[in-house]
């Protein structure tokens, strides 16, 4: 039960650590867990994982339940006689929408893609300046950003609404995009990541080589913070994808898929199976973004060990 049994990741690193310890210090035993400890550990992780994945299983199982099974007693968590009828009913339900479904789908993907891109880009630029620039005001600005994160958003809503309407962005795509760009969490996360991963020495070296700040950002900082960019892309996408604009979008042809969900949910218990089917379909894009972004994060984790 040592590192040679490769339950442990980071093969390159651990192999080297193993060699180090067995070869030079002969302390390899102390780094590992006992067999009982290992069993406990894996059991805990699996149990926690299964517990966490409950809502996903519940949604998927419910979306395949026939109507009578949705109301039986005692309630069953899993589906007994799976059916596609909830999914097959969707085209009929969706044909009654006020604007064609394709319009909502386009809006959702368009708004999510543009907002996520701008959010990540603008946050990364600002975080770079707040971390590595010679501006004297950067510490002060960062303090304000960080504390602003703590202010409860509820009482901000009315002044924000007044500002939106003064700018004339109510009922435009900007009402989705611009408020997200101001989200302080992205700048905070990116700034902390740059602090931990981009050494000042690299900045100095680039400056001596004559690189201007734009090039330093694009060619040195961005590649180094790729895991953080990936994670932030996921956060941005997840938030925009499920956002239901609160009183800033009235034009039906500008609404996104969450608005469709609200319309189907309004159909009551008889449609609860179909509502769950829509929920399941709506989960697919965030899950894909999750898989792509996190496999990238983990990939770069491994290459970091090789360097």
């Amino acid at each position: 039960m040592s590192q040679s049994k490769s339950v442990l990741g980071k093969p390159g690193l651990l192999k080297r650590m193993h060699e180090n310890r067995t070869g030079k210090t002969s302390q390899s035993k102390r780094y590992t867990r006992s067999k009982a400890g290992n069993t406990l550990y894996v059991t805990f992780l699996t149990a926690f994982g299964l517990f966490s994945i409950l809502p996903l299983i519940y949604c998927i199982a419910t979306s395949f339940k026939p109507l009578d099974e949705l109301m039986i007693f005692p309630p069953s968590f899993f589906v007994k006689r799976p059916t596609f009828q909830n999914y097959l009913a969707l085209p009929g339900l969706l044909s009654n929408l006020r604007v064609p479904l394709s319009r909502y789908i386009f809006n959702s993907f368009f708004v999510s893609a543009v907002t996520t891109f701008l959010y990540v880009f603008v946050s990364a630029l600002a975080a770079f300046v707040l971390t590595k620039s010679p501006l004297k005001s950067r510490r002060g600005i960062f303090t304000v950003v960080q504390y602003a994160l703590l202010f409860n958003t509820y009482t901000l809503a009315i002044p924000q609404y007044l500002i939106f309407s003064y700018m004339g962005i109510i009922d435009t795509y900007w009402a989705y995009i611009l408020p997200h760009i101001a989200t302080t969490m992205g700048v905070f996360l990116m700034k902390q990541y740059i602090e931990g991963s981009v050494p000042d020495a690299i900045m100095e070296a680039a400056k001596i080589d004559g690189a201007n700040p734009y090039r330093i950002f694009a060619q040195i900082v961005v590649p180094m913070v790729k895991p953080c960019i990936m994670t932030l892309t996921l956060f941005g996408f997840r938030d925009v994808w499920s956002a239901l604009p609160n009183g800033t979008i009235f034009d039906e042809s500008l609404k996104t898929l969450p608005a469709v969900m609200t319309q189907i949910n309004a159909g009551g218990i008889a449609r609860s199976g179909s509502a769950m089917a829509v929920t399941v379909i709506m989960m697919i894009p965030p899950i894909i973004v999750y898989m792509v972004s996190q496999s990238n994060v983990i990939e770069s984790m491994n290459s970091a060990g090789i360097k």
Partner: protein, 305 residues
């Protein structure tokens, strides 16, 4: 501005021309941050000294909103207490859990790691996943937990879980922790890769003897920035809990057991149209959170020392 002359000063003093690119890069964020966050925040702070019902003009009342909430509003004091209980328990526990699980995952093969982290992140990835607990704790015999306990004979009639003053707080705490593998968890996962592998090797040579020492002397100090981030996010989320208890236990909850400050201020603003009072409450909450943030920042600086 004059260009810096001496070699000693270069790198500290930078000419205005050299600073322009930095201003350009900061501008887009700063513009919208000031417009959508700083100005509304300032408006909210100003409003906390007024009485404002959203119909007639605001009337300046000095500190009376603050006096009212602290000395003349038993429900506010109750919600303050609930919020502190929730924050003191779920804040640190969520922080530890999201670090410990990220750290555990770090030693698995990439594929196992991706699958497990997906499972942990699931409640946060699926928005409003907590409503599943509403179904589970439903008070009639159709609730999963009641129907299961009835079937094995532990109870003889359905328990009103979310309407029982004794059960409701522990349930809210448990569900909040269940949802806490969110932003901080993934930030920790990405932060763990910043730890330089050579540090581990150097540590092994310098006499680090077990994984706990490795954690304390190498991993944690290398992750200090990310830990501060996840601590601040935990403060922000644990002091702002409101949607979860409102969905599960309703507002007002039984005996006001799980009504939080944020639920209360939303009620004051939306139902009672007391915007000035709601603003004052959010200003007080903000001050409490700033104090906690400063204390937590000092604690995190002690890591690895």
């Amino acid at each position: 501005m004059i260009r810096s002359k001496g070699g000693a000063r270069s790198g500290i003093e930078v000419s205005f021309r050299e600073r322009i690119p930095y201003y350009v890069m900061l501008a887009p964020f700063l513009l919208f941050f000031v417009l959508f966050i700083v100005i509304p925040m300032a408006a909210s702070v100003v409003l906390s000294f007024f009485e404002f019902d959203m119909v007639s003009l605001p009337v300046f009342t000095g500190f009376s909103n603050f006096f009212r909430m602290l000395f003349d509003d038993a429900i506010f004091v109750r919600t303050l207490k609930n919020t502190l209980i929730l924050a003191v328990i779920t804040g640190p526990a969520g922080f530890l859990l999201s670090f410990v699980l990220a750290w555990f995952l770090n030693e698995f093969k990439p594929i196992v790691r991706t699958v497990l982290s997906f499972m942990f992140y699931c409640p946060a990835l699926i928005g409003n996943a907590y409503y599943i607990w509403q179904v589970a704790f439903s008070s009639d015999s159709y609730g999963y937990i009641n129907s299961w306990l009835l079937s094995i004979g532990l109870i003889t009639e359905p328990v009103q879980w979310l309407k029982d003053a004794d059960y409701v707080m522990p349930i809210i705490i448990a569900v909040q922790l269940w949802m806490s593998m969110g932003v901080s968890f993934l930030a920790n996962i990405s932060g763990l890769q910043n730890v330089d592998s050579e540090m581990y090797e150097a540590g092994a040579i310098d006499g680090i003897r077990n994984r706990w020492q490795e954690l304390w002397y190498i991993t944690l100090p290398s992750m200090q920035h990310m830990l501060l981030f996840s601590a601040v996010m935990q403060i922000a989320s644990s002091f702002s809990i409101s949607q979860l208890p409102i969905t599960l236990a309703g507002y007002p909850s039984v005996g006001n057991r799980v009504d939080t400050i944020v639920s209360y201020l939303a009620d004051a603003g939306t139902v009672r149209y007391e915007m000035g009072y709601a603003s004052a409450i959010s200003v007080l909450l903000f001050l409490i959170m700033i104090v906690v943030r400063i204390v937590v920042g000092k604690l995190i600086n002690k890591i690895g020392k």
